[in-house]
């Protein structure tokens, strides 16, 4: 028994060591971005991140400070645009997706199975295949270079629908019956009785949707045409040109675009993981 226990603790120690090394490797790129943000961008783009840049000395705040002023404050405009889009996309997607998810969960109606299969289909078919016709559609609706054009095709998120449905199935029907006895209409039952019960689901989806919106790249790349409408990812990508002279903005800007997500993650880590796994993939 004793030897078994020492073997056990040896395995634990070994695993601990393996994960320690792995985690340092996974965090290393983020650490190198952190330090790079305090150094001249032009040198970094020419020589890359070197051993010297990884030693935390001779750090200068001027590259971060220049984000506010360089190119007439373009970076702050991108930041504001990204924030506006996060609010629009998260608000609309939560509202519509929760309605659909709830509808699929609690009502028995003709076509329910078909609709749910379509949700799953949309969930797996990559949007990249449909970008050309979506682009034509946007031109038809005269919505190119607008925030509505970015948000409209995705106001109902299949993933969020799936998530809300799984969550709503778990709510006892007694709550719905009680609402009916109180004389509430179907809409009233959802907004007054069910929605408050689904708060954790809203929390998890809000964080996940906001993250996706903040990092969204391909579709905004196609929709947005002018610099004043750019979001952070699109603006930063536009700085990757070989003739660019704004590499400070690219690198320090990358850090500042990532920081809010990291902070939110540290506060709400539980919700992140729950958002990915609840509703389970139990086959």
């Amino acid at each position: 028994m004793r030897s078994l226990r020492t073997a056990e603790s040896r395995v634990n120690a070994l695993f601990f060591l393996i994960f320690l090394v792995l985690c340092l490797a996974f965090l290393f790129p983020i650490y190198s971005l952190l330090l790079a943000s305090f150094r001249p961008g032009r040198d970094l783009m020419r020589f890359g991140i070197t051993v010297k840049t990884l030693i935390p000395d001779n750090l200068s705040l001027k590259y971060l400070a220049s984000l506010l002023t360089a190119r007439a404050g373009a970076y702050t405009v991108w930041y504001r645009n990204s924030l506006i889009l996060v609010v629009m996309q998260t608000g609309l997607s939560l509202f519509f997706s929760s309605l659909v998810g709830y509808g699929l969960a609690v009502y028995e109606f003709k076509g329910r199975r078909l609709l749910f299969s379509l949700v799953l289909l949309v969930l797996v078919v990559p949007i990249q295949i449909l970008i050309l016709p979506l682009y034509s559609l946007l031109i038809f609706f005269k919505s190119m270079n607008t925030f509505w054009g970015i948000v409209a095709p995705f106001v109902v998120s299949p993933f969020a629908v799936f998530f809300f449905r799984q969550y709503a199935i778990g709510i006892p029907t007694d709550f719905i019956d009680a609402g009916r006895i109180d004389g509430l209409r179907e809409g009233g039952i959802f907004f007054r009785v069910i929605a408050p019960l689904m708060k954790p689901a809203f929390g998890a989806m809000a964080i996940l949707t906001a993250l996706q919106s903040w990092n969204n790249f391909l579709w905004p790349l196609i929709v947005l045409r002018t610099g004043d409408m750019f979001t952070l990812p699109i603006g930063l990508a536009s700085l990757l040109s070989p003739y660019g002279n704004n590499y400070d903005m690219l690198i320090s800007g990358s850090l500042m675009a990532t920081l809010p997500i990291l902070i939110v993650f540290f506060i709400f880590q539980r919700y992140f993981i729950a958002g990915l796994t609840t509703g389970g993939i139990k086959g």
Binding site: C23, F26, S32, F96, L115, L130, L132, P233, L236, G244
Partner: protein
């Protein structure tokens, strides 16, 4: 559990209406219009049918390169990003190590970083200069300083797959750990009583019972792998000529972007999209078949 409600015949449809509308307008219509456009030549102001000419035009080396790159990327990411995260998830799932939560969080962190930022970091770490950190680390191992971005097909694929590993290992670990939660504990206790080794338990208990999760992750990896574009766009953005040298980073969606958006050939771009859709559906059908997914449904 769920009952039909006589007084509320229409309200269910009101709830699901947003999905019906967006599905028809933003999924079904685009899908149908891709099929139609792929047989058309579309010039502003005039559109005409050209039969299968768009598809014939795709019998060219660029298309072959794009398919080959997307295919290799998908295969590599699946071969690496399924077995390793399964193993790591099993290791993290052992009780009695409070640091495991921190480890899981640390490996999940790269998932939060946008593709633009991730690509920028990768470009800086894998820069071509001998002083760049990756070249410095590899030098004592006898590997000469490489220009990773411009150094040819193999180094380009290494960067793309490496970036995928950095960004997606943590997510897959989370998926597999949630799958592990649903495996009953007593199965392991029974195996222990039978004196089963750790490897036996891994391959005869854990992996078979994790199959639904493995199927799920493999399927999303097939779709995600063939649809890859943003990573290569960022890594080679702004190279002279606007793309990767010798198309080492050209993917199928990249080819749609090149022809459809930059070249304005909507018909040709749609034909690429159709081929991509056919390949993705075909491959995922094959994968599901391989796992015996359809057989289980019949039983």
């Amino acid at each position: 559990m769920r009952r039909s409600i006589g007084s509320a015949r229409f309200s269910p449809y009101l709830f699901v209406l947003p999905f019906i509308v967006t599905f028809l307008v933003f999924y079904l219509y685009p899908l149908v219009s891709t099929v139609i456009m792929s047989f058309q030549e579309i010039v502003p102001g005039q559109t005409h049918w050209i039969g299968t000419l768009n598809y014939e035009r795709l019998l060219n080396p660029f298309m072959y390169t794009a398919i080959w790159n997307s295919f290799r990327y998908t295969v590599f990411t699946i071969l690496i990003l399924i077995p390793i995260p399964v193993l790591l998830a099993v290791m993290l799932n052992r009780p009695g190590n409070p640091a495991n939560v921190v480890f899981r969080g640390a490996m999940f962190l790269p998932t939060l970083v946008s593709v633009v930022v991730a690509g920028t970091i990768i470009r800086l770490l894998f820069a071509g200069s001998p002083a760049a950190i990756v070249n410095t680390i590899l030098h004592p191992l006898g590997i000469k300083p490489t220009d990773w971005l411009l150094g040819g097909s193999a180094s380009a694929m290494t960067l793309l797959v490496g970036m995928a590993m950095w960004r997606w290992t943590g997510v897959n670990i989370v998926y597999f750990m949630s799958g592990l939660q649903s495996i009953p504990r007593d199965l392991y206790e029974a195996a222990d009583i039978d004196g089963a080794s750790a490897w036996y338990k891994l391959f005869r208990v854990t992996v078979p019972l994790l199959k639904p999760t493995i199927i799920f992750v493999t399927t999303i990896s097939v779709f995600g792998g063939f649809a890859m574009f943003e990573e290569s766009y960022i890594l080679w953005a702004g190279q002279s000529g606007g793309g990767s040298p010798n198309n080492v980073g050209l993917t199928m969606v990249g080819y749609i972007y090149l022809k459809g958006f930059q070249g304005g050939a909507l018909g040709l771009g749609s034909a690429i999209g159709m081929i991509l859709l056919a390949i993705v559906l075909g491959v995922s059908f094959l994968v599901l078949n391989l796992f015996g997914f359809f057989k289980r449904d019949e039983a």
